[in-house]
Symmetry: D3
Subunit: 293 residues, 6 copies
């Protein structure tokens, strides 16, 4: 991902075309405060200076002074409502033209990090040995990597990032290949470090996977608690994939508004949910110029 | 905006690098159904075929057959939960590799259109002459134009799209310029067809704008109902900007969870809110392969 | 518009491909003077340093010293023939490789600004209340925003920049829609701050627009003086668009080599002409190295 | 040069951002005539269909019918004023959104080709053995290759296209290198098929080049007729560069409004002038929809 | 990876800038044979049509006929020296301008596939349970994904593709982190499906990794046969990483010109070598036009 | 060629997508040595700092300190095996993430420069007047300009860089045009400084070229020594192209493993061979962190 090209794309979306020639000498130097309107887990801070730099670059502010930023909180820290998370300094045009893009970015990432932290907090203690809450690939197009980063900052873990760091054999892959075994055949041995996981929806499919003996990462999709417990019991009894010796790793998905603790207590290693990203309620940052000249 | 370049960017985010050479002759032709999990206002349909085409182009499927799509509903129509909104046909790899990007896109746009339609529906009849509910520039970076399109499909209107189609003089612009009059001076006369709007937060600022006599679009920001009514009364009494003869156009913003009908009845022409876009609850589409070969 | 990407595109057009590794330590530091061969209104100066910077970046001059520029005149000022508009300093390769692109850019913008200023000067005093001379969208592909900027520097005003900051309903739009009213129907209410203007070519069309009552910006296209006077009289008598209360704003276009003063005295608010940009006579800048080492 | 990427850049300059979803089924199929307002040498025709195709691609017109074009004249032919140079057919939105870009492009190229043909026509017969009239690198940034193509279509020849297809040692190169000989030293032997030319401004410099004996292409810059004749006589007497055996090739430049025939008769092989491109008077094409549906 | 953008980049590298308008009607339709000069494992075939298509697109050949290709051999098949691997048909300019890029691409990929197949063939039978010969990340910049694909076509396997599909903790990572344990701490738990491998160079480091108990993929770097055997024995005795239960997976690297069979017989699971890609001897394809018109 | 965009492409190929936010303050400052594993002609050094800079830019290391590099050898110098060619200093993440790309680049260029120097050295003294050993256009797609640069650093010369700096009429061009004369007709007079060369394979073709009298650069392709000597004798007897007066310039190509000295002694001016680039044996650089903090 060409980080700076992407940021320029966001800025141009707001700025439109056009040359913006300003004489830096006449454009006053300002200081602005960036605040969260409500309490937030700060996320995205390391990129804010980059957004300011790229704004100034697009504005062709000649031999202008570089923008600066000073953070009052670290990435991932809790920022109280109304506290100045950062003090930004720059030419007026740099701050004014970067403002909306910068706030939209910071708000989006922080709302995911904040919501993730709240979801984790609300679950409370999970069984020893439970691996963690994972996100999914249900992301906003163009923000996949940023949204997954925000999930990490919020304290949860990332499932695979895309097709490139793990093969998940899903229902449509099985349908296109003509069954569980031919679907595993297509994926097996292609990757050296990226693992294969397979989705099963019932005991029959689970038995097929266990009988095949190659794949040890199993996604238990859309199962209710009794079904989950039965599946977990079967896999734990089988212990490990017979052909690789790797112990089964079990993930529950499609849990909707289900009870995370009960599902974790059913014995799965991981739970994945799109809600960390998709259900994060809006959280706003704003920016106010506090000093001119 | 280079539509196809942006779509390729989304796909690459999911696909990662790599050549994907498949022999089309061996890759079966499939049909898949695209369904909304819950009732939805369909939005984004015209782009789905483009996503499939660009996926196939990235896969270098040689002399493959072009993907096809057949929609059961028109853009903007209500699709019942579970109904097949579309039947897509294509080589298995085209459908499988496009799936997540396509669904994420369709889900995001449709959830905004659906939420917008619901917000409008919940408000009920508004005063004759009321201009409409507007969105804001609080968008996901990279999706501004798509999200604003979804707002239109959902039945509301767009405020300006960016800096390029309207000058909104906000608090920070006034601060940087050193006051309302110098801020208007900077913007005045630069644009021929794109209007100027100015934000005021109290009667004192409103009086300054009226006295200046140039700007006729006024944004009444963060005012409670009594303050709004007072501001409306004052502007209606002044009728039009003295220097242009254009009748005042009044917009209420920053209304949070306020009562849209009461605010509209206070006499403003427009109400803008970021909630159409930012508070849209998640809405999922999925895709299932229903026929192979 | 990604300003720096566009500038790199111009440079590559001249430089072609290839790595250009020079050891900065051996490449002498030079000073060059940039002069206009004839008197000019200087335009484009704020971008010249950016062109030098991007040239040096493409040349991979390692840990080289940054180029510098010192302007003897401000953007928009009149530079006498032969005067050193700027003194540039940089490594020889930076100056030599940037030279032609830099001069072509500066010459193009300055010839438009100079020609615009001359056209305005030749017209002399215009009626009080006359709004100004406008440009058109007849621009060199790829230079739209720069050429419109040069028009502003030369003292005239910009008509809309593109489709995005104003809707101009022209003859082809009316033909495609099937008439004036359906053409207005298609455009009405889509934009919040960007206005709608409609082109009329005779009194019959003008009456249709007045009867419709929505659009207040009218383009009187290709009318001779008597026709213009008649159209102005009719619109002034109608005063304002009946449905919006906005006073009519009248623009004359298609005036060819017509008499700007007479047309302005006919009572229109604006005159647009492509000649500011398209008929600007060539004006050359050159660059001479005056000191090496 | 990525032709289609550049064309998309021009279109986006006019269209701005935004999705433009139209249902092709509802958007009428139209026919439009493209005409030159005055007699023109047609130039740019092969690209017009590409512009229409890229417009339709950006508009995401779904499974729309491809635009078509039928030319009444061949590239380089003389098109009478008002004659339909082409009949274009396409969906209304494709034609309307492509119109201005297409016309600006066609007008710019055709005005150069037309002007070039006129300049050549006005010169009349030139001495047998005269090599031709050449253009320069004084081009509009971003249009170098197109403008040089238009010069060829108009009947003149191209000087080098850029730094990559010929080394021209100019005054600044000589200054930076510290003299004619060290400047030739830097360039000599680097290129296999791209020749070296050197600029001289007087007899002293010419003698240095002849004495050096390597470079056979000589640019006689800014010389009046008597000086030109003296320089030509000296080079013809020397016949060929002593170290390569290649006969001297002499070019006159910097001739301003000079008399092409007299200069050619002075015995140079080539004359270069920026006026073919830079002094081409504006020439307009327009487009009219002539049939809908 | 935007496949088509990258291919256009290769073509532009050869074609340079410039418009290339040819009238398709006049440009003859040709057939050409593509042959390997020596026996080759064919690799890259699925992309050749894409290269021809993109060449034609860059040339703006108007309403030209699409190029076609017919392969006499399948991807991965052995093509005898001098046999026509493919028959390509297209307009002359499409074939002539694509020729060098197409051949350079096909030659590079096929030489890697051919060399890989030869290396594998020369090794002969390997021990049952041996996992395979792997490549490395020592690739030509810009061709990583293509070269790794060619390795697969040649019959070997890919080590990780990049940083994104596996974490390999190497000597420099250990140095920067301050030891093996802190280096594992930094990587541990960040990835869900992409595994962690660690490089060790001696028994002491191996013991540290075994004691830590987290990482089960171990890279035995630069060890001679006795050292390898000792390391293998130690790891096999420990069986599996104590904290994950995953059996140790052992890879030998840095083997230079070592004896693959002896190393495999020493008991490692995998051997990686950069020689598959880096030491592939040149293998040429050529193209001959065999029919015109 | 947009140098920095291309380098970012290489880095992204290795890094994949994703934000990489690290707090520079915590990421230790390191020093690393870059060494060649075997003796090498150093090539690519001027770009290494650029690679480090672009890596740091992609990593968004906030207000981090810029990376530095100090070379112990000049570009083109012989670096002994194991000697520290450079000392690089930077934040750990900058060095670790740039490492593989930087080494792959430096290794590829240096192996070409080293091999070229060795080939030249092994040939020994060549006849006085012999022009030089040339490369070809058989390059790795995407690295054309870099590989040709490495050939120059190694001491040989470049044939044309691409289609843009010389017209080489090859067998396929002759076939498509329908003969030698029509092929020359198509190319003649199109270029001002870029020469035309024509490929001949036997005396009959050579006679046709001489009879035509226009082209003076002749490529003697795939001729054995006796044939070469006969062709040279014929051309030397003809001296110069009759229509231009330029002495014949003769190049031997397709010499395979032929004897360079014998071929040069046969009297050609140049020999071209793809082996400088394509047959360069692998040569590795590595990087070791030697100090942390």
């Amino acid at each position: 991902m060409d980080l700076r090209a992407q940021i320029r794309g966001w800025l141009i979306e707001d700025l439109g075309g056009g040359p913006f020639p300003f004489e830096a000498a006449r454009d006053p130097w300002c200081e602005a405060h960036i605040k969260a309107k409500s309490a937030a887990v700060l996320c995205g801070a390391p990129y804010v200076l980059t957004i300011l730099e790229e704004t100034q670059s697009l504005l062709a502010l000649g031999p202008a002074k570089a923008p600066e930023i000073e953070w009052g909180y670290e990435e991932g820290a809790r920022v109280p409502a109304g506290a100045a998370a950062a003090r930004a300094r720059g030419h007026a045009q740099t701050l004014l033209k970067a403002e909306r893009t910068l706030l939209n970015f910071l708000s989006r990432l922080s709302e995911i990090a904040t919501h993730t932290a709240e979801v984790l907090g609300s679950i409370g203690d999970l069984p020893a040995g439970f691996g963690g809450i994972l996100d999914t690939r249900k992301n906003t197009p163009g923000l996949r990597h940023f949204e997954k980063y925000a999930v990490r900052v919020g304290g949860a873990k990332n499932h695979r990032l895309g097709f490139f760091d793990g093969d998940l054999i899903k229902d449509n892959d099985i349908a296109a290949a003509g069954g569980i075994r031919p679907a595993i055949d297509r994926a097996w041995g292609l990757r050296y470090m990226a693992e294969i996981q397979i989705e099963v929806q019932n005991m029959k499919e689970l038995e097929e996977v266990i009988a095949d003996g190659r794949v040890h990462m199993i996604l238990l999709d859309n199962m209710d608690l009794p079904a989950l417990r039965q599946a977990v019991a079967r896999a734990r009894q089988a212990k490990a994939a017979s052909k690789t010796g790797k112990p089964y790793s079990l993930e529950a998905s499609g849990i909707g508004g289900g009870d995370f603790r009960a599902i974790a207590q059913a014995g799965v290693d991981f739970i994945s949910t799109s809600r960390l990203v998709r259900a994060a309620p809006p959280l706003d940052f704003n920016m106010k110029i506090v000093r001119v000249g």
